[in-house]
């Protein structure tokens, strides 16, 4: 078998640094540094330049051709806007609801799907399916289902004598309806992460708990929950970032309406852009960037620190 390998294969397959033994001397990596050149170039051109350009343009009145420096005016306008206040509040509500429900439901489903039940593999894939469907498709489908007069949901409710609400047309309800759809679509991913987390808990803990006479709830509370903490941290971080940046589902379902009732920061920014207020919408993007950073960075730090302690 070894004879079929060329020498270059052999050296590459061998764990190079250890077998050749580095005796305190710094050995250059297997790849020359100029390999970094292309990725760096791509990164600078497509990520760094636009990012810094957008910081600049957020201080200007910009029509894509000419820009006038207006200092902090865009930020002043943006923060004076009613849509932004609603948007900011809605963004936080949406992010907290979706990530909270994903944690709870994801954990519950994972418990169910790691237990000995019939058709487990099938059920696992059913739970995961919505994750694979296009968000816009999900949004449009649920818009039809949630139609107050002709939608399947309210028609079904009418059969049992309930007068269903205007899921997407009632200003007080629209955002929550969208959040529920988001959970429906995203809970599969949370479940998979939790399943991985639960399966990796060593069997010995359960056996020890059984010997000590722990009940089901105690096993869950004192073994599964703390040991699945890394999974919880991942689910919270991912769904919170997703929730804060959410846009596509909201746009597909209500476009921020009725009025501005289900607007989030991202949809407010998009509307500014649609209206041709390019400077203003860029300022909004900077604000969104800061909000996400301010919330997510300390949160991940806190969650990961907790992980090291346990």
């Amino acid at each position: 078998m070894a004879s079929t390998l060329s020498t270059s294969d052999a050296t590459r397959l061998a764990p190079a640094p250890r077998s050749l033994g580095d005796r305190g001397k710094k050995r250059p990596g297997p790849y020359p540094y100029w390999f970094y050149l292309v990725p760096t170039l791509i990164y600078v051109v497509f990520f760094m330049v636009p990012t810094f350009a957008s910081f600049y343009f957020s201080f200007t009145r910009w029509d894509l051709f000419t820009s006038t420096w207006i200092g902090l005016d865009n930020y002043r306008t943006f923060f004076a806007e009613q849509a932004l206040i609603i948007g900011l509040r809605n963004t936080l509500i949406y992010a907290v609801i979706t990530s909270g429900l994903k944690v709870v439901l994801g954990m519950a489903l994972a418990l169910l799907l790691t237990s000995q039940i019939i058709a487990r593999g099938y059920l696992r894939s059913v739970v995961f399916f919505p994750v694979l469907v296009s968000t816009i498709g999900v949004g449009l489908t649920f818009t039809v289902l949630m139609d107050p007069e002709k939608g399947l949901i309210n028609n079904a409710l009418a059969v049992v004598g309930i007068d269903g609400p205007g899921w997407l047309t009632n200003p007080n309800l629209a955002l929550f309806s969208i959040a529920l759809v988001d959970v429906w679509k995203g809970v599969g991913l949370a479940t998979v992460i939790y399943i991985a987390g639960l399966v990796s808990i060593p069997q010995e803990y359960y056996e020890a708990a059984e010997v000590d006479g722990a009940g089901r709830w105690q096993v869950f509370r004192n073994i599964m929950l703390p040991l699945a903490r890394p999974a919880t941290a991942t689910v919270i971080t991912l769904s919170l970032i997703g929730g804060l940046r959410s846009f596509d589902l909201i746009w597909a379902m209500t476009k921020g309406g009725p009025g501005f009732a289900s607007d989030v920061i991202a949809s407010v920014i998009y509307k500014q852009y649609q209206a041709g207020f390019y400077g203003l919408s860029t300022a909004g993007s900077v604000v969104l960037f800061l909000v996400v950073t301010v919330i997510v960075v300390p949160l991940t730090w806190w969650l990961n620190r907790g992980e090291e302690v346990t």
């Binding site: 006038t68 107050p148 200003p171 009725p258 209206a275």
Partner: protein
């Protein structure tokens, strides 16, 4: 070992495949850009229009008539969404130099927002300019005074579509004041019919109470447009202008809206007023051309009157002297430019107008003196024409001022769903207007 090796080779193969497909993609993208397709001497241009059934039918009819007369020019029809989504698409495609050779878009203030001086080809030298309706010509100019838009379709009014059989059955008169209108609504409601249809499922349809009231505003404050443009007159602080907002609130509070007003779409609204499940539908007269599609045989059951104001004597119709004009982006050159100009000129002739009318029934007078309405027109067109002929028609604010706030439709919906009251709605819209004015760089708004 062997597995690993094969795995690596597999990866290499896949990478090669990926790279070559990228290469292929690069090639085809490049060849899309070149214009050497088609036979020699033939020119192909694209005509971008709205996506409603009538828009497409009109576009097809004009294209067919034009191609019959000009066999060496081929025109493809492409469609785009309406409302703010359409505005965004037009702006972006213009900014990226990717616009169709001829496109249909609003004139008036929305034309100013796409910067015609920078982005469009001036059409002053065209033969049809001298025949234009003066209102249309005035609202198709850039800030440099040059004409950028060619006439397409007809002028139309913004007012209230009403169901004639319902009016006959309940023995109602056309209201000329707001009080009479509300009294009619009461009678209609008692008869078990929806008094006022709204269709917030399609957001732009919400604006008529405010936009269509402009004739009444101007009757009371003749210089509103100038002061508004200069940043001196506001909706919230000008009582005559605030009225439109108050009307939305009143109708909503009186419970006169249809049950599904929050989710209904334009076609639901047209159907309701055409079949008599609703008595009134504040709307643009132009939508009447779709009646035959959604409620066959009901075209003559729908009439049209101006939004009633405070005074019967000054009541009149707010009109749109053709929201649709045809434009050529500046990036078009050579043969394509000639073809585009030829196409616009054709649409301005009687033959072109007739083709448009054949595609979608006209709901108001044509924009060029070269064209006349057919003898058989819809009731909406007759009613609109009557306002024009008696001089009781004035153009909407968006044709007298370059500023139209982009969020008007959402703010109207906020008032119509009782999230804010009329006064607050007007204030919010004033802020929206301010942003647009600043973006346009108008004096007096800093």
């Amino acid at each position: 070992m062997r597995f690993k090796k094969m795995g690596r080779r597999g990866v290499a193969l896949m990478a090669l495949a990926a790279a070559s497909s990228l290469f292929a993609a690069g090639c085809s993208a490049g060849s899309l850009g070149s214009s050497s397709e088609g036979s020699a001497g033939a020119t192909t241009i694209t005509f971008l229009t709205g996506a409603n059934d009538n828009d497409v039918a009109s576009a097809k009819a004009v294209i067919d008539a034009f191609q019959a007369a000009n066999p060496n020019i081929t025109i493809k029809n492409d469609t785009r969404p309406g409302g703010s989504e359409g505005d965004n698409l037009v702006k972006t495609r213009l900014a990226t130099g990717d616009m169709a050779e001829v496109f249909v878009y609003n004139n008036g203030s929305l034309l100013q927002a796409i910067k015609p001086e920078q982005n469009l080809t001036p059409l002053d030298d065209q033969p049809w300019v001298s025949e234009l309706d003066p209102l249309f010509a005035a609202s198709s100019k850039g800030s440099d005074g040059k004409i950028y838009g060619g006439p397409y379709g007809t002028a139309f009014g913004g007012g209230v579509l009403y169901n004639i059989p319902v009016y006959k059955k309940l023995n109602l008169q056309i209201p000329k004041t707001w009080d009479e209108f509300m009294k009619n609504n009461e009678t209609v409601k008692k008869a078990g019919i929806t008094p006022v249809e709204q269709s917030y499922g399609e957001t732009w349809t919400s604006q008529l109470f405010v936009l269509g009231d402009y004739h009444n505003v101007e009757a009371q404050v003749p210089d509103f447009a100038q002061k508004y443009t200069a940043g001196q007159a506001k909706y919230a602080t000008t009582p005559a202008a605030l009225t439109g907002w108050e009307h939305i609130q009143q109708v909503h509070e009186a419970g006169y809206f249809n049950k599904d007003f929050a989710s209904a779409k334009l076609n639901d609204g047209i159907k309701a007023v055409a079949t008599g499940t609703a008595a009134h539908y504040p709307q643009l007269g132009a939508v009447g051309s779709n009646i035959e599609n959604v409620a066959p045989g009901k075209s003559n059951d729908v009439g049209f009157f101006a939004l009633p104001g405070p005074d019967a004597a000054t009541n009149g119709m707010t009109v749109w002297p053709g929201t649709a004009a045809m434009y050529i982006p500046k990036s078009v050159e050579g043969d394509k430019l000639d073809a585009a100009k030829k196409f616009i000129a054709f649409a301005a002739t009687k033959q072109g107008c007739d083709a448009v009318a054949q595609g979608s029934p006209p709901q108001g007078p044509f924009l060029s003196k070269a064209c006349q309405l057919p003898t058989e027109v819809s009731q909406i067109a007759k009613d609109t024409q009557a306002y024009f002929e008696s001089g009781k028609a004035s153009p909407a604010l968006e044709f007298k001022s370059p500023i139209k706030g982009p969020n008007l439709e959402q703010i109207c919906i906020q008032v119509g769903t009782a999230q804010v009251d009329a006064k607050k709605g007007a204030e919010l819209y004033d802020q929206d207007v301010k942003k647009q004015a600043q973006q346009l760089g108008l004096p007096g708004w800093e």
